[in-house]
């Protein structure tokens, strides 16, 4: 059992944003985990809108065959920046925002272990985001290399590539510092009685995710640093002419890239694991197996990377190894899906907006996982590699998985954070609009991929037109639905009904059972003692 170690002292706590600064300085200097969580969430939403606009440029160009609106080079820049901004600027910071808000509340800690480093972790992000955007305005424009930044293309790009590399460095530093904070907080600052196996599953998923980040992000940083030295300092890590190997970059990138998928997915699992029991009014089914399944997924994520690159040419034995290892991930993932369904089984279910998004997640993420299994098969992947089937697959994982879960989390915890209820009717409308338009965009992309439409192209043959039109109309609907989400949140904050002390009857973690609504600026200065 771990005890709370409070090294800040009471006087230091008064500095956590509530005492001495008002206005903008409160947000710049804050060391309060709730303020920093809020900053992360708003930053991620702004980046989500920016990445979304880029997605709309892509989908608008693809509305009809032929080149209509943008030239191919700019189209490539859009696909690259859309991916980088959504992965590193939107989804990851969103879940770090949830972690900042929720982990100390859920384990009975007064704040994050390193409150000042927490401030630094966040405030690196706007600079990194600015570098990414700035790359559009330098000679040559933003890099058009895809979010995977494959060599040797990266070696040939203009100055925008350097800005992107520095941005990735900064984003990586932020993630690593955030992870160190999360691991230290969870391991050392739990309230008396909050044993590891009593922690809410959201905390568990973040503990495991933070370890993944510490292990995986330096690998990405190494890969882009080697790219940088290849570009400017005469090394030839990835240049075949100098004895290097472009395929080596792909191996290193995906050694980071596949754990990255779970870095995004595991906190999403954590949110859903809080929401489904609350609206089923039952404890989570198979808690221990959920913890072990999450750990198993994290470990397996490090031995499957080459399933992203079956077509580069590798021995059949290697292909078989990566295929079998990938299919094995379906087992712990299946355990989790089974447990969520079993939690709902014979529960006293109600379908408020957080639960709708959690169930939407369950259906669509499972479909994304299933198409992942299809792609894990070497013989199939050789046909589908770099087609829209892959685009559809990973958007089911990233959007229907991570984004739906993030929406579930915002609707679930917004009353606790703000003391205000969102409009339930509007929330449900947001869910259904998101659900319908999401499938309109991406379900049809499976058909496009199966028919052979390659990804990352601005033009296509006439035979693909109908599905592309449906997909593009869905994209505009989806984008507008998220502006509607912003309206719902702002309406709740400004004029929402006062939230009851415990708006969700079945919620049973510490923030619901031991803290008032809205949660005060400083919490757990005296840790709770759990029997």
């Amino acid at each position: 059992m771990s005890a709370v170690v409070d090294n800040h002292g009471h006087a230091a706590h008064d500095e956590h944003g509530g005492g001495y600064h008002g206005g903008i300085m409160r947000w710049i200097t804050t060391t309060n985990h709730k303020d920093i969580g809020t900053l992360y969430l708003w930053f991620s939403f702004i980046m989500f809108l920016m990445g979304g606009v880029m997605a709309l440029v892509i989908r608008t160009e693809l509305f009809s065959p032929g080149l209509q609106w943008v030239n191919p080079d700019f189209f490539n820049q859009m696909t690259t920046m859309h991916g980088l901004i959504m992965v590193f600027g939107a989804i990851m910071p969103a879940f770090v925002g949830f972690a900042n808000w929720q982990i100390p509340l859920m384990i009975g800690a007064p704040d994050m272990a390193f409150a000042r480093m927490n401030n630094w972790s966040f405030w690196i992000l706007p600079f990194a985001g600015s570098l990414l955007i700035l790359s559009f305005f330098v000679p040559g424009g933003a890099p058009g290399v895809g979010w995977t930044m494959y060599a040797p293309l990266t070696v040939q790009m203009g100055m925008g590539m350097d800005l992107t590399i520095f941005a990735v460095h900064l984003l990586g530093m932020s993630s690593i510092m955030g992870s160190i904070n999360i691991i230290t907080t969870i391991l050392n600052m739990r309230a008396p009685g909050m044993t590891l196996m009593r922690m809410p599953l959201f905390v568990w998923t973040w503990l495991i995710t933070a370890y993944l980040l510490v292990a995986a992000m330096p690998v990405l940083a190494g890969a882009v640093t080697m790219t940088l030295t290849d570009r400017h300092f005469g090394t030839t890590f990835f240049n075949a002419a100098g004895g290097g190997d472009p395929v080596l970059y792909q191996h290193i990138f995906w050694f980071f890239g596949h754990p990255e998928v779970y870095i995004i997915a595991l906190p999403a699992f954590g949110v859903v694991s809080q929401v489904i029991p609350a609206f089923s009014r039952k404890p989570l089914f198979g808690y221990a197996s959920m913890v072990y399944a999450t750990s198993a997924i994290a470990i397996l994520s490090f031995i499957v990377w080459a399933h992203h690159m079956y077509t580069v040419g590798m021995p059949v034995t290697a292909q078989l190894f990566f295929m079998y290892a990938t299919t094995i991930i379906a087992v712990p993932t299946g355990v989790k899906v089974f447990n969520w369904v079993a939690t709902m089984w014979k529960g006293s279910l109600t379908f408020e907006t957080p639960m709708l998004f959690a169930i939407g997640f369950l259906f669509l993420f499972t479909l994304g996982g299933f198409t992942g299994l299809v792609l894990s098969l070497v013989a199939v992947d050789v046909q589908l590699h770099d087609t829209y089937y892959v685009v559809a697959h990973f958007h089911y994982v990233m959007v229907a998985g991570a984004l739906f879960s993030a929406f579930a989390g915002v609707y679930f915890w917004l009353p606790k954070w703000t003391g205000r209820m969102y409009d339930e009717t509007l929330g449900k409308i947001h869910f259904w609009l998101t659900m319908i338009f999401f499938n309109m965009i991406f379900f049809v992309q499976h058909f496009l991929g199966l028919a052979g439409m390659p990804r990352r192209i601005p033009d296509y043959p006439l035979m693909f037109e109908t599905w592309n039109k449906i997909s593009s109309i869905g994209a505009w609907g989806f984008g507008l639905s998220q502006v509607f989400f912003l309206y719902i949140v702002l309406k709740a904050i400004r004029s929402g009904e006062k939230a009851p002390e415990k708006p969700w009857e079945g919620a049973d973690s510490l923030e619901w059972t031991h803290l008032p609504t809205p949660v005060p600026h400083h919490t757990w200065e005296t840790p709770p003692v759990l029997k």
Partner: protein
């Protein structure tokens, strides 16, 4: 040194070793 700082130092050392290790490995292989 507090327990928090010890935990952080262990994690930082893992991250830095991985970062420099991967560059050093392929730099030496390329020589």
């Amino acid at each position: 040194m507090s327990r928090n700082v010890k935990t952080a130092l262990v994690l930082v050392s893992i991250a830095l070793t991985t970062f420099f290790g991967i560059i050093a490995k392929y730099w030496m292989l390329n020589q």
